[in-house]
């Protein structure tokens, strides 16, 4: 058992007197505000079609993997010292001997919590880290509220649609501009193949927009969920009946009730469309020869035998990240992909450090491979012409950051300030958007108390979590993403996109 330091309570604090009512639960309040005013978003068709993979870390990861800049202060004020578990966490690493003691990397990352992979991605201009995604509006530390407001980029968590849904709505509302355009290779919007995909089953990233005036999306523009191994449950095993006869009868009877049983009817339509399409994706996903060759024999992600990039085995994130990147690479029509996992993965309330280090290292290692897959991989458009891959973005974030105090169970409770890891997409970002760490933080909170956080310093750049969605919308040509993140009651001005031209922080050493 780990050593614990028990600190005497400081006693009662102030009172809160608001009389609660069960009916202040958001699900009972139908707001009249229209959460997504797509007509006001002002879409100007971009020259390149972006492809965004949104990796959501359910549970809310600690920000410390990418931010040990305050660790000395944190350790000195924590109820339980970090050094009791990781005795070299206050020490800078030796860049010439990464295996030696010392956890702080040159950019202030946590070496054994994915820090080395982050440094690699930073050096290759595949990654930028925003350390100050900080919630000030309707601040909450509840999972549900935080997940939904992040996945929807909107504080109206009950009625607004997911980011994928809002994006689809904007595009569909501007169908006249898009249909036949060069961006779509002359096709109609509804002809796009698998434009919106979830690798996490039913995702709030594709939640239906229930607000007043929402766009009624055609099925082709709604989220489709796929298995991370591209398994094909969409195909049916044959029965003893004649398939054509049975389907003909279904086609006679079913349409009359499809609107009544819409979601299942959609499920059947998707099943039919997907049953033949999945096989090709699975073949490509399983084919190691489709991964790029790596020239550098010392590259840690190179398979020694084939000389090709290889995704790591025995890594819990490989299948889902690889599937998402493979889909994006193989199918340029896919515009927004959600990737997630079971809640609890990052909800590190107890005995956290070793498990967190392992998880973060696995995640960042896979992301480093994914970044190379995107940067070095090749592909063609539907006409067979070479197609760049620098339109593919991977965003990684979660519910919230965590307290930095190590609590009595040697874990971190729910916090606020968190990181955004954003990878790839050089072709759709402004110059200088990649290869930097943005945001400065300080420890905040009473010494030896649980409620201690990092927060942006007064001179630091910071944004709300909703700005992540705004930035995605802007890649697709939305000029006023603020209206898509606005809510009349809680966030009337909405949130602007992240300013990706902000200068990064200098290295620590």
């Amino acid at each position: 058992m780990k050593r614990r330091k028990f600190i005497k309570s400081m006693g009662a604090l102030g009172a809160t007197l608001a009389a609660p009512s069960v009916f202040n639960n958001g699900s009972f309040i139908k707001k009249v505000s229209a959460a997504g005013v797509v007509q006001d978003a002002n879409l100007i068709v971009p020259t390149v079609l972006p492809q965004v993979i949104n990796v959501f870390l359910y549970g809310g990861p600690s920000e410390l993997s990418a931010n040990l800049t305050n660790i000395t202060d944190i350790d000195a004020n924590s109820q339980n010292p970090y050094t009791a578990v990781r005795n070299d966490i206050l020490t800078q690493m030796d860049v010439n001997d990464p295996g030696a003691d010392g956890q702080i990397t040159p950019n202030g990352f946590w070496k054994d919590a994915g820090g080395l992979a982050m440094e690699d991605m930073l050096a290759s201009d595949d990654l930028s880290v925003y350390r100050t995604i900080n919630r000030r509006k309707a601040n909450t530390r509840a999972h549900r509220n935080s997940i939904l407001s992040s996945q929807k980029s909107n504080l109206d968590i009950e009625l607004s649609g997911g980011v994928g849904t809002t994006l689809a709505s904007v595009l569909f509302a501007n169908k006249a501009q898009l249909d036949g355009s060069a961006l779509l290779n002359g096709r109609q919007l509804e002809e796009m193949i698998l434009p919106f995909v979830s690798f996490e089953g039913e995702s709030s990233g594709f939640a239906v927009d229930s607000s007043t005036g929402s766009v009624n999306l055609p099925l082709q523009m709604r989220g489709i969920s796929l298995d991370t191994g591209f398994d094909n449950p969409y195909a049916r095993n044959s029965g003893i009946g004649n398939e054509a006869v049975i389907e003909a009868l279904v086609d006679k009877i079913s349409p009359a009730t499809n609107s009544r049983f819409q979601k299942v009817a959609d499920g059947f339509t998707n099943r039919k469309n997907l049953q033949t399409r999945i096989a090709g994706l699975k073949t490509n996903n399983d084919d190691p020869t489709l991964l790029p060759l790596i020239a550098d024999v010392n590259d840690p992600d190179r398979d020694a035998t084939s000389g090709r990039l290889v995704y790591p085995d025995n890594n819990r994130y490989t299948s889902r990240v690889k599937a998402a990147v493979t889909l994006a690479m193989q199918n340029p029509d896919t515009m927004y992909i959600t990737v997630g996992g079971g809640l609890g993965g990052w909800d590190d309330h107890d005995n956290s450090i070793e498990k967190y280090e392992d998880r973060m290292t696995q995640l960042m290692t896979v992301l480093r491979v994914a970044a190379k897959h995107i940067r070095l991989g090749t592909r063609n458009d539907i006409n067979g012409s070479p197609l760049a891959t620098d339109n593919i973005v991977i965003n990684v974030h979660g519910d919230f950051g965590r307290n930095v105090n190590l609590n009595g169970s040697m874990g971190w409770d729910h916090g606020n300030n968190q990181n955004l890891f954003t990878i790839g997409g050089a072709g759709i970002r402004p110059a200088g958007a990649l290869g930097k760490v943005v945001g400065k933080t300080e420890r905040f909170g009473d010494a030896k108390q649980n409620r201690q956080f990092t927060r942006p310093t007064s001179d630091s750049y910071e944004v709300e979590p909703m700005s992540i969605g705004s930035t995605v919308y802007s890649y697709f040509g939305v000029q006023n993403p603020e209206v898509l993140t606005a809510d009349v009651g809680m966030n009337p001005s909405g949130d602007s996109k992240i300013d990706e031209t902000v200068a990064g922080e200098p290295t620590l050493f």
């Binding site: 058992m1 614990r4 309570s9 400081m10 009662a12 604090l13 809160t16 608001a18 009389a19 609660p20 069960v22 639960n25 699900s27 009972f28 309040i29 909450t140 549900r144 509220n145 089953g201 039913e202 995702s203 489709i224 969920s225 796929l226 298995d227 449950p233 969409y234 049916r236 095993n237 029965g239 003893i240 009946g241 049975i246 389907e247 009868l249 279904v250 009877i253 079913s254 009730t257 009544r260 049983f261 979601k263 299942v264 959609d266 499920g267 059947f268 998707n270 099943r271 079971g342 809640l343 609890g344 309330h349 107890d350 005995n351 009595g408 169970s409 874990g411 409770d413 729910h414 649980n450």
Partner: protein
């Protein structure tokens, strides 16, 4: 290895073979039958068509993972024409409510437990294969599912079902998915819930007990996490963040050990002594805080709201609020009050339309067909990757940290797995079939329902003597099978006598709780006729009767029904509990 001999001995020691059938509800109605605001009345029920009554009956039963076969609800001895006369459907509401208020006598419980499980692994062909010897295995998930399946309708069944529903919601999920929880926590959470429900504990008592448990701390693992989640989950307050650190101080002496020390809930011996202002009152210890939560005036509104959201997730917020208010107007105190009030409400039975969960579809149809489970079916349901895996359908069992989401997952992947599982595991069989007496095979699905529906006879020989050393369990199972086969033989007489049109209606009522439409009937008849006319031996379904009408060839009922069921599973309505109107 665990020795379960004592379990079997204990069960058997209480048995006397005095003719009490395990499948017969043998209640001693020790619990009062209550009436609730907004119940569907007898006169409202009587005003429905008989077909609608069957829909209502199977919505009521299906919600509890049960189902009523067509010929038990209706008298089909004179065919399926006209308005079918009712059998058990006559007094459905009062009969069902009375059954749910009655406890099974212990002998019936014991006999049914021996029918569904084989605790000593004696190869007695129990209905389910539940491996109690696998300490890491999923038997704590299988046992409640098997009991819900097999126990006669009773308060025992109701309590098991309520515990199962609650343990899958945010209210009591054991959160097996997280590293600090395990299948042991599933076992403890479910069993304690079931025991509390058996004892008619109040909602407050159950919450009070659960909050203090190690299982709860393995889910919410620090004082701040635990107190925050209790406030959010049981009171519905998501805006009391300022209360959390003070509540955490009240619980500051408690912590969870690490993995090496087996995640034990420990007190360090330094309990808080300074009063903390939390939820508008003062608490000092963690026990004080838990009592404040459990007895808070928001508990019943919040719990009722959560359960109403589970059953009425397609209703608007305003509609759900009205339903909650109606339930609260009866001042419920127990979970049974809330669940039974919903189950028998007019709003639920007549006006609510929603997708069925996988268990609701699978279990209710299995009961309507009198489907004989293959022994590993529950293992497949709770597995990670099997074709029948509920996890693959986005609906894992007692696993998610925040419980199953409100509403059945119908995204393309989840629904594809759902449809495939029901069609191929319940209707078709995974690869065409083997002997119907192979209790372990999942290939012979048609055998499993065709005998149950009375379409053909079982090839199981029940006439031979049991071995001299047959266990008492083997004797009970033999008697159960004999009783079942006797019932099915009677059914077979009625069903195989049906005309072609009536047979199609019988199959449709079983699968969809409605008769076939004219188009459906004509198209299916044309298909059956076409196969016959083309001399396709494998599909030679019909023969010409004495009066030149087409009749079903003996032994072909099951194949014809399979084609019809295959069709039905492709209709969206198959996956919904319908509005009656």
């Amino acid at each position: 290895m665990r020795n379960f001999k004592p379990l079997a001995f204990t069960l058997l020691a209480t048995l006397s073979f005095s003719g009490c059938s395990p499948s017969t509800p043998s209640g001693n109605s020790s619990n009062a039958v209550k009436n609730y605001t907004g119940e569907l009345t007898k006169s409202e029920y009587d005003a429905l068509s008989n077909e609608q009554k069957y829909q209502v009956a199977n919505k009521l039963y299906g919600t509890m993972f049960k189902g009523i076969p067509v010929d038990e609800f209706f008298d089909i001895s004179n065919g399926m024409g006209g308005s079918l006369a009712l059998k058990s459907g006559t007094n459905l509401l009062s009969d069902t409510k009375s059954a749910l208020a009655g406890d099974l006598i212990q002998q019936v419980v014991n006999e049914n437990d021996l029918i569904i499980t084989d605790p000593d692994d004696d190869n007695n062909n129990s209905l389910f294969s539940i491996n109690f010897n696998d300490a890491e295995g999923d038997w704590p998930k299988h046992l409640p599912l098997s009991r819900i399946y097999q126990y006669p309708l009773s308060k025992d069944t109701l309590d098991n079902w309520i515990a199962y529903v609650l343990a899958n919601t945010i209210l009591f999920s054991p959160a097996e998915e997280i590293d600090s929880a395990s299948i042991r926590d599933v076992q403890k959470v479910f069993d304690k819930l079931r025991e509390d429900l058996r004892a008619n504990k109040t909602v407050s008592q159950i919450i009070s007990r659960h909050q203090r448990s190690q299982e709860n701390w393995r889910r919410f693992r620090s004082p701040e996490d635990n107190t925050r989640e209790m406030i959010e989950i049981y009171l519905g307050l998501f805006d009391r963040d300022d209360d959390v650190p003070r509540a955490a101080i009240a619980c500051k002496n408690l912590y969870l050990t690490d993995q090496d020390a087996d995640y034990e809930l420990i007190s360090n011996g330094f309990a808080n002594t300074e009063p903390q202002y939390v939820l508008d009152t003062f608490v000092t210890t963690c026990g004080d805080f838990y009592d404040v939560v459990a007895n808070h005036p928001l508990v019943m509104p919040r719990i009722t709201t959560s359960i109403v959201e589970y059953f009425f997730f397609r209703k608007t917020g305003e509609e759900r609020a009205e339903i909650v208010q109606a339930i609260l107007s009866d001042s419920p105190t127990t979970f049974q009050d809330i669940f039974v009030s919903i189950l028998f409400s007019k709003e639920y039975l007549l006006n609510n339309e929603r997708p069925k969960s996988v268990e609701e579809t699978f279990y209710s149809l299995a009961h309507q067909m009198d489907w004989r489970p293959y022994r590993d079916v529950l293992e497949d349901m709770t597995s990670d990757n099997d074709d029948l895996s509920l996890k693959q359908m986005g609906w894992p069992v007692m696993s998610l940290k925040l419980g199953r989401f409100t509403g059945v997952p119908l995204d393309s992947l989840s629904f594809a797995n759902y449809h495939k599982a029901v069609r191929e595991q319940l209707i078709l069989g995974s690869s065409g079939g083997s002997s119907c007496s192979d209790e372990d095979s999942n290939n012979n699905a048609r055998c499993r329902w065709s005998t149950g529906m009375g379409l053909n006879e079982s090839d199981e020989d029940l006439t031979g003597p049991l071995d001299d050393d047959a266990t008492d369990q083997a004797i009970i199972i033999r008697q159960y099978e004999i009783d079942r086969m006797s019932k099915l033989a009677d059914r077979a007489e009625r069903v195989t006598d049906l005309s072609l049109d009536d047979f199609i209606d019988f199959v449709f009522l079983t699968g969809l709780q409605r008769r076939a439409s004219t188009i459906e009937k004509e198209d299916l008849k044309a298909y059956y006729f076409d196969l016959t006319n083309n001399g396709n031996n494998s599909g030679d379904y019909l023969i010409e009767g004495d009066d030149e009408t087409l009749e079903i060839r003996e032994g072909r009922h099951d194949e014809m029904a399979q084609v019809a069921f295959d069709y039905m599973t492709r209709l969206p309505e198959f996956y919904y509990f319908l509005k009656a109107n």
